[in-house]
C-alpha cells in the first residue's frame, strides 16, 4: 500500500484524535548526540566508546518495520519529519509520547550516564519537541545515580512537554527500593509520571530463571520484570508515601494484572503484619496508580472474544488501558487493527484517547 502524500505544513490532523503512548525516537548513531555533549565527553566516547548492558534487542528486520526507514538511509525513527509524515499524519495521531531507548540508565559509568541523559533530553527538545507540536516526551534520567537523576528532573521539569521519566525494564534493583525514592519525590513535585518500558537492563537477565537461548523467549519476558517492579513499589510503600505518583507500564502486556492483584491480596491477608505500612489491599494501589499500554496486545483466540472483555472486567479498569503503537518497531500495532473491533465504542474511545488525555492532561 503506497504511503499517501501529505502536506507537511499540516501538523494537526486530529479528526480521530488518537493518543499514542509509545512512539520511539531513535539515534541513527551515538554521534547524533555530539552537538549536545561537552568536548570532554565527545573525547571520552571517541576513545572508549559507549559501553552498556545490552539486555536484549529486536532482531527481526534489524529492530524496525522494513518500510519505516527514511529515504536518507538513516535509521528508522531517527528523523522527526519522516515519522510525522509516515505515521502521525497517516493515522491522524493527536499526540504521541516519545520513549527514547538509549544507553541512559544502563551505562556502567555513571558520570557518562548523566552526561548522556542531559544530551538525550536536549536532543529531544531541539530535534523532536520543537519540530512537531503533537509530540510529548519521556525524560531520560540516570536513575542508577538518583541525586544526578533529580538534578536532571529539576533542569527539564519546567518544560511541560516532558510528561514522565523513563525507566528501562530492569534497573539494578526492583523499582520500589528506597534508593529510587528521591526520584519519585522529584516526580511528585513536578507532576511527572514514572514510565517503565519493556526490555533493556542494568545487568539483570530477562527471565526470573536467567538468560534465555532464543529471542522468542526474550520477546515475552518483560511482564516478569514488570510484575516484580510493581509488586516492589506496592510492598515498599511507594504509593503510601507518594500518593500522587503514577506508574505507566509500557510494552509489558496487561493480561497478567488481574492474577497478580488476586495473588497479592491473598498473600497480604496472610502476611500483612510484615508490611504494616500498607493501609489497603495491594490491588487497590495497583488499580489506582498503575496505567498500562496496549502493545503488545494480549488477546484470547478469536473464537473466544468474550474472554477479552472479561479480562478488562477483571482488571476493573477500562480507564487505565491506553493505546500504544510501538512505531517504528517491527512488532508494533497499527491503530486500525490493534484493538478488537467487537469492543463497545465507549471502551475503544477510552483506550484510544480519553485515558491518556486525562493522565497526561492533554487538551
Amino acid at each position: 500500500m503506497a504511503i499517501p502524500q501529505v502536506d507537511v505544513t499540516r501538523t494537526t490532523p486530529t479528526r480521530r484524535g488518537i493518543i499514542d503512548c509509545d512512539v520511539h525516537n531513535e539515534l541513527d548513531s551515538d554521534r547524533d548526540l555530539y552537538p549536545y555533549l561537552s568536548r570532554r565527553w565527545r573525547d571520552h566516547i571517541d576513545a572508549y566508546g559507549i559501553r552498556y548492558y545490552t539486555g536484549s534487542f529486536y532482531p527481526r528486520f534489524m529492530d524496525h518495520r522494513a518500510d519505516a526507514w527514511p529515504p536518507s538511509g538513516r535509521r528508522a525513527g531517527s528523523e522527526a519529519a519522516y515519522a510525522r509524515d509516515h505515521f502521525l499524519n497517516r493515522y491522524e495521531i493527536a499526540y504521541a509520547i516519545l520513549n527514547p531507548l538509549t544507553p541512559v540508565g544502563r551505562h556502567p559509568n555513571l558520570d557518562l550516564d548523566a552526561a548522556l541523559a542531559t544530551a538525550v533530553n536536549d536532543w529531544q527538545v531541539a530535534e523532536w519537541l520543537d519540530v512537531e507540536p503533537r509530540l510529548r516526551a519521556s525524560m531520560v534520567i540516570p536513575y542508577e545515580d538518583p541525586p544526578r537523576a533529580v538534578d536532571e528532573i529539576k533542569r527539564c521539569g519546567a518544560d511541560k512537554r516532558f510528561v514522565q521519566v523513563l525507566f528501562l525494564g530492569r534497573p539494578h534493583e526492583p523499582m520500589g527500593r528506597r534508593k529510587y525514592w528521591p526520584i519519585y519525590e522529584a516526580c511528585s513535585t513536578y507532576g511527572l509520571h514514572v514510565a517503565s518500558h519493556a526490555f533493556f537492563s542494568a545487568g539483570n537477565p530477562i527471565t526470573g530463571a536467567g538468560h534465555a537461548s532464543y529471542y522468542i523467549e526474550d520477546h515475552i519476558g518483560p511482564p516478569q520484570a514488570m510484575q516484580a517492579n510493581i509488586t516492589s513499589m506496592v510492598a515498599e510503600g511507594v504509593f503510601e508515601h507518594f500518593p500522587t505518583l503514577n506508574i505507566v507500564s509500557v510494552e509489558n502486556g496487561f493480561g497478567w494484572v488481574p492474577a497478580l492483584m488476586w495473588r497479592l491480596d491473598a498473600s497480604w491477608r496472610l502476611l500483612r503484619g510484615e508490611v504494616p505500612h500498607l493501609k489497603r489491599p495491594p490491588s487497590e494501589y495497583i488499580r489506582e496508580h498503575l496505567y498500562l499500554s496496549t502493545q503488545p496486545m494480549e488477546e484470547p483466540p478469536r473464537s473466544k472474544p468474550r474472554h477479552f472483555e472479561q479480562l478488562l472486567e477483571h482488571y476493573g479498569y477500562t480507564d487505565r488501558l491506553m493505546f500504544a503503537s510501538d512505531y517504528p518497531h517491527w512488532d508494533g500495532d497499527s491503530p486500525e487493527h490493534a484493538v478488537p473491533a467487537y469492543l463497545p465504542d465507549e471502551v475503544k474511545r477510552r483506550i484510544f484517547s480519553e485515558n491518556a488525555r486525562a493522565l497526561y492532561r492533554l487538551t
Binding site: 500500500m1 527481526r60 528486520f61 522494513a66 478469536r302 512488532d331 486500525e336 487493527h337 478488537p340
Partner: protein
Amino acid sequence: MKYIVAAVDEIPPGGRKIVEVAGHAVGIFNIDGEFFALRNRCPHQSGPLCEGKLWGILEARLPGEFEYVPRREILACPWHGWEFHIRTGQSWCEPARLRARRYELRIEEGSALRAEPDAPGPGLVKGPYVAETYPVSTQGRYVVVEVAGEPMPAPSPG
C-alpha cells in the same frame, strides 16, 4: 478485465514492481523467470506486504538441527514478518484463517495485446469524441494481470 502492468524486461529475476490494478496496489514478482502477483496488503494488519523480504525456508527436524532451503519463495510482511507463499498466497502463520489475495497473471506478446477488441469494458458505449492518440510499441512481451470480479474481502479483525 486485463491490465498490462509491465514489460517483461522491466522486472529482472529477483526483482519486483508494485502497480495499481483495479484500484488496488499489486506486487508483481519475478522469481527465477516465473512471474507472480499478490495484493500489496497483508491480511493481518494491512501492512504493505509486497514491500517485504523474500526469504528461504528454515526447517528443523529436531531442536538444534537446522536446514535452510534457500529458494526465495516466502514473502514476509515488512511490519510483523507474517509469511506467505509467493506462488499461492498461502499463509504459513495461520493457514486456516489468512491468505494473501493472489491474482492470475500471464505473459503475452505485444502483438497479441494489440489485437484485443478496443471496447474498454462491458456496458460502455462509444461516444462521439475522440482524443488524440500516440503510437504504442507492440514489440516485446508484457506482464498481464487478469482480475475477475471483486477482490476477495479481507477477514475482519475480531
